[in-house]
Amino acid sequence: MRVMVMVRANAQSESGQPPGRELLTEMSRFNEELLKAGVMLSAEGLQASSRGVRVRFAGGRSTVTDGPFTGSQELIAGFWLWQVKSLDEAVEWMRRSPFKHGSAEVEIRPILEPEDFACAAGAAAVRGSA
């Protein structure tokens, strides 16, 4: 299965300043481990929300708002895509990340696979024919 690992933004990541040298080195080592384990699919850091925009759709119209979105709790600072056997494996890898020395919030979500679509379609078909 594949998972997306989303790292919550914080004041430091929103400031636009690069992370501390030690964290960068540790993160590099961590990514190297993930690579060697055949787990790493993709890893990206996102620029501060001040560099981004939001597009909101309502009533058939769209509005564009420039960042920053500092009020929001849901900002993401970066993400990984990992290939793992289970969510538990992803959690175990996360326990080994450089974040273990500090504080961070990370959300891990499994990626929808075709079987999930098939299940949903099957369930809908059953409901429809009932």
């Binding site: 299965m1 690579l35 060697k36 384990a37 055949g38 787990v39 699919l41 993709s42 895509l81 290939q83 056997k85 289970s86 538990d88 494996e89 959690v91 175990e92 890898w93 075709p114 079987e115 098939a118």
Partner: protein
């Protein structure tokens, strides 16, 4: 009531234990191969190494629910396994009477006592893992034995999972693994990296196993046990690990590239009826762009090594041609033909020759393709393979030679048992009767 309270506590302990069990499974997934590899180097016996590793796992299952998961679970498992190993060797020493054996076990004990789990360099770990891969894929073992042993030792799959993946009884897999370990022990296969002179052959044995596992997963049809498509993931994982361990081997990158690109089509390859869809007819918006990107990167990495391209790198290059074409019409058949020309020189199999004939037809016209297909038919090598008359029929029809084409399609229909294929081929035969393509 006391009973209810007890039950409640037991069930909360059970729930905690279930969480810990899953976490331990995750740790095993991450650590087992490295653990077995390191132990195998110490005790020089892959079977014993696995036993020691399993002992450590059992100890973890007993102790971690009580004490919590250690900060460095890998080191804990290693230390536990080594202690078991030392105990084992001491018993061996007491039982052993032969002088040489005595010396050997003493040496191993010293090894075990000397090496500390925390101080191992990444390179050492890598080398051990590489040795394990080569050992599990040793050419002494049959392909089935190599696959089972590799999945057991390197992917950490259980015998049950492997059995479900290959659609054979669990006992069969268990036997295969036991016999494989015995074969390796009896032949005293050293736990070493192959010498330069043998490397090509030994590596080819490894790549063959990985690709076999991948294709087993790729061929899984909808509705089958989910362990089967999971084989693609396992093969990809082992391949990617190998690429990092042996980055100087172009064929490893070639195989990884081939698997990434093939895997990119997993969502597009089956129709709603569960039947396979030909590459040229697949909905390309369903192709996984991340995997294609990774495949192209792996291909570039392999080609950058500057060696003559081997069969996996060539097949990957062909797959990359398809992957780069945004629509079927964009396919660069001329380039694909050139790649097949190279591939055929390395692996002159009739099936590859036939694929080349198809590519030639699409690049240079049906007459050119037919020439190659006719040559193949004359050789008689593919006399039971329905795709040969099927291809000839298609090319003849394109040249307006409808009555000959019809004969070929009928012949093809008779050579296959797949209902859907038979329908398609008969359909084409009918169209030939009407003078239609």
């Amino acid at each position: 009531m006391a009973c209810t309270a007890d039950l409640a506590m037991m069930s909360s302990v059970a729930m905690m234990a279930a969480d810990v069990k899953r976490a331990i499974d995750a740790v095993w997934r991450i650590e087992s191969a490295r653990l077995i590899a390191h132990l195998a180097r110490l005790v020089r016996n892959v079977g014993l190494a696995e036993e020691l590793a399993q002992d450590a796992l059992v100890a973890a299952l007993e102790q971690w629910p009580r004490c919590g998961i250690p900060d460095n679970p890998g080191a804990w498992l290693m230390a536990t396994a080594r202690n078991r190993g030392i105990d084992h060797l001491r018993r061996e020493r007491m039982l052993s009477r032969k002088h040489e054996e005595l010396g050997h076990t003493l040496e191993m004990e010293q090894h075990m006592n000397g090496s500390s789990p925390e101080s191992r360099a990444d390179d050492e770990i890598g080398d051990d893992l590489l040795r394990l891969i080569f050992t599990a894929c040793h050419p002494l073992l049959s392909r089935e034995a190599r696959s089972a042993l590799t999945l057991k030792l390197l992917a950490g799959l259980t015998t049950t999972e492997i059995a479900r993946a290959f659609l054979v009884p669990e006992a069969t897999i268990a036997q295969r693994i036991v016999r494989a370990k015995r074969t390796l022990a009896e032949a005293q296969v050293p736990f070493e990296l192959p010498r330069r002179a043998e490397l090509r052959e030994r590596l080819s044995s490894v790549l063959e196993v990985i690709y076999l596992v991948f294709n087993e997963g790729y061929s899984a049809t909808a509705g089958e046990d989910w362990m089967r498509p999971a084989l693609c993931e396992e093969a990809l994982r082992i391949g990617r690990i190998l690429a990092e361990l042996a980055p100087g081997e172009s064929e490893v990158h070639g195989l990884v590239a081939l698997m990434e690109i093939q895997a990119s089509r997993l969502r597009a390859r089956l129709g709603a009826d569960g039947e396979p869809i030909l590459l040229m007819e697949q909905n390309r918006t369903l192709w996984d762009r991340l995997l294609i990107h990774r495949g192209l990167l792996a291909l570039a990495r392999g080609e950058a090594l500057g060696e003559t391209r081997g069969p996996y790198l060539l097949q990957a290059a062909i797959a990359a041609c398809h992957a780069r074409a945004l629509t079927a019409a964009d396919t660069d058949w001329v380039f694909i033909t050139a790649l097949y020309d190279e591939l055929v020189r390395l692996e002159p199999s009739p099936v590859i020759e036939l694929n080349r004939a198809v590519a030639v037809a699409l690049a240079y016209g049906p007459a050119a393709g037919l020439e190659l297909a006719d040559r193949l038919a004359a050789q008689g090598a593919l006399s039971c393979y329905h795709l040969l008359p099927s291809v000839r029929g298609d090319l003849l029809a394109r040249l307006g030679r409808y009555s000959e084409a019809r004969g070929e399609f009928e012949r093809a229909a008779a050579l296959t048992r797949n209902e859907r294929e038979i329908r398609l081929l008969r359909n084409r035969a009918h169209r030939c009767e009407r003078g239609e393509l």
